[in-house]
């Protein structure tokens, strides 16, 4: 019985220093939040910042991206890597005072795997045996077993290296005593889903009208210690408005948790205001330039020419105002899998790029159709730079701006593009097969259709290893191979930028990895 996990004493989330104040803070989310605020069930990326305030996960990461206890005080993994047993923290209560038990875990799994609900995060639980069948509408027993009120076991259909990253740190329980009374069809959209008023996180929702004026109140029973703010208001707005609003004193916190972020050109404006603190932290979202293997980029030399042509550092400097790092590896530098020694680092080298192109016999008369989604100005700005830099090596790139939705269709369904930029929202996880496996051309986000049996095999192997020491040799090979083959040009990992009006709110310290707002610690000034 191999075991991982930490002791219950190193609780990371609790902070004794926080006093229960009467303060209110207003938080701006960029973009629409969508109706569903049920953890695990919302399909909206922008909603994450809100659901984080409502929920807690079983485990969390520390600074080194190692697991630390959260709702679970301890976990054990069977030697074959298929059975995980979690011990739940004792004395935890939902915001209405109902005790938190293993039933609440089951309730959440059941809800996510109900054929009548939809969720983008099915991967959190899909390694568990029987879940896929249940979701597909076949009768199936799920590999979940309640041992007692504070202990449960899940059985996986196969060993899975990223199970803890997903089920452990992303999955959140749902209140069984509430959810069991809700019809499955209402789980995504019912009243409770839209305004969860029984939560396990630092806040619960008190009122909501549409996308605006969501109001949350402090959870008196929060397990992680006293919540600093009495009230938290959430408002969805556009980037410019958010920046304006915080400058005008109408908003107190912009938590870099939405899909759109504070524009680099606004950082200076914000910083120039003495009350506003700009907080930057590294993020695992990778901006990626996809090259279509099925049209013009089947030749590795051409792909390498592209990466040599680009000045990614320069781009980060101008487009992101320096707030980001060049993406050298599929694993972000703060990931435990990242290893600078095994990867090839590319810097701009126009001569070499030209050489590679001519070696590959590139036909300069061809136009390269570059699909650029609108919405994120850093992307549209970068696309122009990319176009110009590729022009210098003799690639005739034509930009076609389309809305994001169209871009996704053209990239993932129709594969009708030569170049395109899309973001890969990263989760700390060794499994990158959705981005690079042959199968993922049809089913994942391997939009360019890169195919390499060796890589396929490495990725498949790595997933089955649950010990870091077993994983490391494989992930090293994976990142090395990917950096050599250049299936995509990974442009950068952009820093998340949060802004806080320190005159109103204190102690906003987001954690690296972009995972946790730690809103429980916020206090009012």
């Amino acid at each position: 019985c191999t075991s991982g996990g930490g002791s219950a004493s190193t609780s990371s989330a609790s902070a004794g220093a926080v006093k229960a104040g009467t303060g209110t803070a207003t938080m701006a989310i960029f973009g629409s939040i969508g109706p569903c605020l049920m953890p695990n069930l919302t399909n909206n990326g922008n909603a994450r910042a809100v659901t984080q305030c409502f929920g807690s996960s079983l485990l969390a990461y520390d600074e080194k991206m190692d697991f630390i206890p959260s709702l679970a005080s301890k976990y054990t993994v069977s030697s074959d890597g298929t059975q995980y047993t979690f011990d739940l923290r004792k004395g935890v209560k939902w915001s209405d005072g109902t005790p938190f038990t293993a039933d609440d875990i089951e309730a959440a799994i059941t809800a996510m795997t109900d054929p009548q609900t939809t969720t983008n995060w099915i991967t959190y639980v899909s390694p568990i045996a029987g879940t896929s069948d249940r979701k597909a509408g076949k009768s199936a027993t799920i590999g979940y077993k309640k041992v007692d009120d504070t202990t449960f076991t899940v059985t996986l259909s196969a060993p899975n290296a990223s199970f803890l990253d997903l089920f452990g740190t992303q999955f959140q329980p749902l209140p069984a005593h509430i959810v069991s009374k809700i019809a499955p069809t209402d789980l995504n959209t019912g009243t409770f889903a839209q305004a969860p008023n029984v939560t396990i996180g630092p806040f619960y929702m008190t009122s909501r009208s549409g996308d605006d004026d969501m109001e949350m109140a402090r959870n008196p029973h929060f397990w992680g210690g006293t919540v600093g703010l009495a009230k938290l208001v959430v408002k969805s707005m556009t980037e410019t408005n958010g920046v304006t609003a915080i400058l005008a004193g109408e908003v107190d916190v912009i938590p870099a948790e939405s899909v759109a972020e504070i524009a680099p050109s606004d950082v200076e404006t914000l910083s120039s205001n003495s009350a506003i603190k700009v907080v930057k932290y590294q993020n695992s979202t990778c901006q990626t330039l996809y090259m279509n293997e099925h049209t013009l980029f089947s030749d590795k030399r051409v792909r390498q020419a592209v990466i040599y042509a680009l000045d990614r550092k320069g781009m980060i400097k101008t487009v992101l105002d320096g707030d980001g790092i060049v993406a050298d590896s599929v694993y972000p530098p703060f990931s435990k899998y990242y290893d600078a020694k095994v990867i090839t680092k590319y810097t701009q080298n126009v001569k070499k790029a030209k050489q590679l192109l001519s070696d590959a016999g590139w036909d300069a008369s061809k136009t390269v159709n570059f699909i650029v989604p609108t919405g994120d100005t850093t992307v549209t700005q970068a696309s122009v730079i990319i176009q110009q830099q590729l022009k210098t090596i003799g690639m005739n790139v034509q930009i076609q701006q389309v809305d994001n939705n169209t871009a996704i269709s053209r990239a993932n369904q129709q594969h009708n593009f030569d170049l395109t930029i899309l973001a890969n929202v990263g989760v700390n996880n060794l499994d990158v097969s959705r981005r690079f496996s042959t199968a993922a051309w049809k089913t994942g986000v391997n939009s360019g259709g890169y195919s390499n049996p060796q890589l396929d095999q490495l990725m498949a192997q790595a997933v089955t290893k649950s010990a870091f020491s077993d994983q490391k040799p494989l992930t090293d090979q994976i990142q090395q191979l990917i950096s050599q083959e250049v299936p995509t040009v990974m442009l950068w990992y952009r820093d998340s930028i949060a802004a806080v009006d320190t005159a109103k709110v204190t102690n906003v310290v987001p954690q690296r990895g972009g995972a946790w707002l730690q809103a429980a610690k916020w206090g009012s000034a």
Binding site: T26, C36, N43, T118, I122, D213, D403, N404, N405, R410
Partner: protein, 316 residues
């Protein structure tokens, strides 16, 4: 008589509304992209996608999808928004008042102020007020509303702190807290273009009417100057403006899209942008239904005003 006219107008509106929604439906479906793209994470895999498509009824043939929508719409059910998963009616009803308030206030502002300036300018053509108004007029039609909006925010919200920068009500307040202050900047940004146009038209129309013989008749009767201007000149000068106003309504709703985005105004403009970008068909169709009904109503109101102002038409 008037009632029959109204009813006829409304009957004529039915094909317009249906036409607008059909066209809308065809166009959004002609565009690449799918509602699934924003509902299903690309990394979630095709199974989830398929499940979602079935759930939304997107796997059925297009004409059937539209007809189902129409059938339900006729019965008062505009369906559920894909994005917000709420009844579209609810979404629209929540936002319609905001847009109506914004566009309506802008319309009133543009017409009341525009007519007033136009009349003053016409009474003293080539005078100082006339010159000033034409300068403002030129500025009004040459500055994009988003630039004006941002400038206004910069000056009045950030520098002078006189007015709030965005939103419709002050956060945390309930009801209509600070609504008036919030209304000022967006309304000004939205109204300025129409205001310029209205001023120009009023001036031209007034100048023309003031040369009419019946104005001379009125003066010759010994009426006061005010009465001549208001009762005789203005009333007749308004007729062409009514037609203009009928055309203004749709264009104001169009303009509101940008202004709503700039000022974070919780109206239908933003909803429209979002629903197009997300291919939220039910919301889109609902909106196009509402827009076309508004156009029909706008036409109708213009028509009625026209009839009331113009006794000649009233008889036909």
């Amino acid at each position: 008589m008037l009632l029959r006219r109204i009813l006829r107008r409304l009957a004529i509106g039915v094909p317009v509304v249906i036409g607008a929604t059909v066209l809308n439906f065809i166009l959004v479906n002609a565009a690449p992209g799918s509602p699934l793209n924003s509902l299903v994470d690309p990394e979630a895999g095709p199974a989830v996608r398929k499940q979602m498509a079935a759930r939304l009824g997107l796997d059925r043939p297009l004409p059937l999808q539209y007809l189902t929508w129409l059938w339900n719409a006729v019965h008062g059910n505009l369906g559920f928004s894909y994005e917000n998963d709420r009844p579209v009616v609810q979404d629209i009803l929540e936002r319609l008042p905001a847009t109506l308030l914004l566009a309506g206030t802008a319309l009133v502002l543009a017409y009341v102020v525009g007519i007033a300036i136009g009349v003053i300018a016409a009474l003293r053509p080539y005078g100082r007020i006339d010159a000033a108004s034409s300068v403002v007029g030129v500025l009004g039609i040459s500055i994009p509303s988003f630039v004006l909006g941002l400038l206004l925010i910069y000056v009045f919200a950030l520098k002078l702190h006189w007015l709030p920068a965005s939103g419709m009500t002050t956060l945390g307040t309930t009801g209509s807290g600070g609504l008036l202050q919030h209304l000022v900047l967006p309304v000004v940004s939205l109204a300025i273009f129409d205001l310029a146009i209205v001023t120009r038209y009023t001036r031209a129309s007034m100048l023309e009417v003031l040369t009419e013989d019946f104005i001379r008749t009125a003066n010759g009767k010994g009426l006061s100057a005010t009465r001549v201007v208001v009762r005789h000149a203005l009333r007749n000068a308004l007729t062409p403006l009514v037609t203009l106003a009928g055309l203004s309504l749709p264009s104001l709703f169009g303009g509101a899209v940008v202004v709503e985005v700039v000022f974070q105004w919780p109206g239908m403009g933003q909803l429209a942008v979002n629903s197009v970008l997300a291919r939220d068909y039910p919301t889109l169709l609902g909106l196009s239904l509402v827009f076309s009904i508004l156009v029909v109503i706008g036409n109708l109101i213009a028509d009625i005003c026209y009839t009331l102002l113009n006794p000649k038409v009233r008889d036909d």
